[in-house]
């Protein structure tokens, strides 16, 4: 469903993503892990057509993203890194816009909007302008926009960050249900405990290069330990001034 062949992205002298090769099967939940600045968001942007690769090919739903950008956009739902919301539209208007643009009928859009607002506990804020929403509300709105057109592939850039535990659980359940119905999910996250629960495929990236790609069951140790070993080990600095009585 998602395929990358030697995908590279350079920004001047800096190589953000270096010869990335990746295959994600239909109905899989692929977690793409790595530290800040490793190239995760750049990869998501290339997979969703927001950014052209410097080299290599990206295929989504059997379509070359560079050559069939519009057709690919019709097949995918995206929660982008910056959420991509318009300050001058309310939560509900964002969902109605999505229905119109993706060709979902008005009545069906209204029905799906009501369901999504209810499922994500957004009903009370449906008439709030995005500019006045909390970060959590904005993230839930962007998530609902990704789901509403019933896409074949979902791309989610850090969906579980900065949201409450109940919403996180609801989102996890929705994603697992989507995957059971054959929707492919590609997500990035820093919350390894959540990833461990829902992912079926794990890909780890460090300095733009893939350092691990396997089904979740093939991990030789806990995800956290494997991540520390392969990607980045935590460094603890002692702050000698921290504590009562220390200056």
């Amino acid at each position: 469903m998602i395929s990358c062949r030697d995908v590279t992205r350079r920004f001047g002298e800096f190589t953000a993503v270096d010869r990335l090769n990746l295959e994600v099967a239909p109905g899989a939940i692929c977690a793409f892990l790595g530290p800040n600045g490793a190239g995760k968001s750049t990869t998501v942007k290339m997979l969703t057509g927001l950014l052209a690769p410097s080299a290599g090919t990206v295929t989504v739903c059997g379509l070359d993203v560079a050559r069939h950008a519009l057709e690919v956009k019709r097949q995918i739902g995206v929660l982008p890194e910056d959420l991509g919301l318009f300050d001058d539209l309310t939560v509900e208007e964002h969902l109605l816009l999505t229905g119109d643009v993706y060709g979902v009928g008005r009545a069906e859009t209204r029905a799906r909007t009501a369901q999504l607002l209810h499922a994500l506990s957004l009903e009370h804020g449906r008439h709030t302008f995005a500019a006045a929403c909390s970060h959590g509300m904005r993230k839930k709105t962007a998530f609902a926009m990704a789901l509403l057109p019933n896409p074949r592939v979902l791309f989610l850039d850090e969906p579980f960050e900065a949201i409450d535990p109940v919403t996180s659980k609801i989102m996890r359940d929705l994603l697992e249900e989507a995957a059971r119905h054959g929707i492919t999910v590609f997500l990035t996250s820093h919350i390894l405990s959540v990833v461990e629960q829902i992912a079926t495929q794990l890909v780890m990236i460090r300095k733009g290069k893939v350092v691990w790609d396997s089904p979740v069951g093939e991990l030789p140790q806990s995800l956290e330990q494997h991540y520390f070993d392969l990607v980045e080990a935590p460094v603890v600095e002692e702050l000698e001034w921290l504590g009562p009585g220390r200056s």
């Binding site: 942007k45 969703t48 057509g49 927001l50 950014l51 052209a52 519009l70 956009k73 019709r74 995206v78 982008p80 910056d82 959420l83 991509g84 919301l85 318009f86 300050d87 001058d88 539209l89 208007e93 964002h94 109605l96 816009l97 119109d100 643009v101 993706y102 060709g103 008439h127 709030t128 302008f129 995005a130 500019a131 006045a132 929403c133």
Partner: protein
């Protein structure tokens, strides 16, 4: 007091940065154009501009500090009173109002006009606290447009309503409406000329069509829409606002001028997109480009007003051709360089 001083210093820096956005007035063609056209006779227009600017520029500087942050800082009662008393003086409008008060006392300004200015400043100061997310209540009255990009057009109208250009144009339009309703004997040319002023007030916005989209710019790229559809939603919103303002004046000539202004504005709006601050005048790409745009726009306006109404058709054709051309350009332009 050291804490208050430190906070005031930081606040002053933040407020100065925000005030720089007022500089967009320097690249708004309305001011030099009216100055050139009307000279000293344009006193009424300049007064309108001054009053319209006064209101949003009167925000409370203390609002720059999030309420929760202010509450968390270890400030005692004296610190807080000092901060409250000193912070309004970080806003140059407070000093201007003080200067105007001295003028009023010396009789160089009527007390009534000073009172109006002071009222606007007070309203701007108080209302800046009350607008949630900076969106006034009447934004909800904007209707949805038909078509797949109907919600986008609604959003675009709200963006236009967030610029000061609109409010100057509205006051000019209301002046025309007042004369119509009062049945005062104004010659037809007067309404036409007022219409041209409305056009001039609005046209700079067409050079920064994407200036208020903020984080939504990435969303445009994710939606399965063609570039021309996005530009059409922008253009339709602009023309709808223009039509409403032109109804008491000269709608057809106004629309013709508006279409040509949009066609000319596409180049900088797509090729050199820049951020636009809310509640400020739109800033164009340059005054020289603004002059070219005004000449083309006024030519279209004049052609329809003085030659024949059918000339609106070539103006529409130019706008549609420009929408298609720059729509294509918008699609291939990278947003993450």
């Amino acid at each position: 007091m050291a804490r208050t001083r430190a906070i005031l210093k930081a606040l002053g820096t933040a407020f100065r940065r925000d005030w720089k956005t007022v500089g967009s007035i320097g690249v708004n063609i309305f001011f030099p154009a009216t100055l050139l056209m009307l000279g000293r006779a344009g006193g009424f227009i300049y007064l309108l501009i001054g009053l319209v600017m006064l209101f949003p520029a009167s925000t409370d500087p203390l609002r720059k500090i999030p309420r929760s942050r202010l509450a968390l800082w270890p400030l005692d009662r004296r610190d807080r009173i000092a901060l409250r008393a000193a912070s309004p003086w970080l806003n140059p409008v407070t000093w201007i109002l003080g200067g105007l008060a001295i003028w009023a006392v010396r009789g160089r300004l009527t007390v009534g006009l000073w009172g109006l200015a002071a009222g606007l400043v007070a309203a701007g100061f108080l209302l800046s606290e009350l607008l949630p997310g900076g969106r006034p209540f009447f934004f909800r009255w904007v209707p949805r447009f038909p078509g797949v990009a109907g919600e986008l057009a609604r959003k675009n109208i709200r963006e236009i309503l967030s610029t000061l250009d609109f409010y100057v144009a509205l006051l000019l339009s209301l002046t025309g409406l007042f004369y119509r309703l009062a049945r005062l004997n104004l010659p037809p040319e007067a309404y036409r000329d007022l219409g041209l002023l409305v056009l001039l007030a609005l046209c700079t916005y067409t050079q920064c069509l994407f200036g208020l989209d903020g984080g939504g710019l990435a969303r445009y790229r994710l939606l399965p829409l063609r570039g021309w559809q996005i530009l059409l939603a922008k253009g339709a919103a602009f023309l709808a606002v223009l039509l409403v303002l032109m109804l008491p004046l000269d709608p057809l000539s106004g629309l013709a001028g508006g279409m040509v202004a949009l066609a000319m504005g596409h180049s900088p709006a797509v090729g050199e997109p820049r951020e636009q601050a809310r509640w400020r005048f739109s800033g164009g790409v340059s005054l020289s480009y603004g002059v070219v745009q005004v000449v083309a726009m006024a030519a279209a306006w004049g052609a329809v007003a003085f030659t024949g109404r059918w000339l609106i058709l070539p103006c529409a054709a130019v706008w549609i051709a420009s929408t298609l051309w720059y729509g294509r350009k918008w699609e291939v332009q990278p947003i993450f360089p």
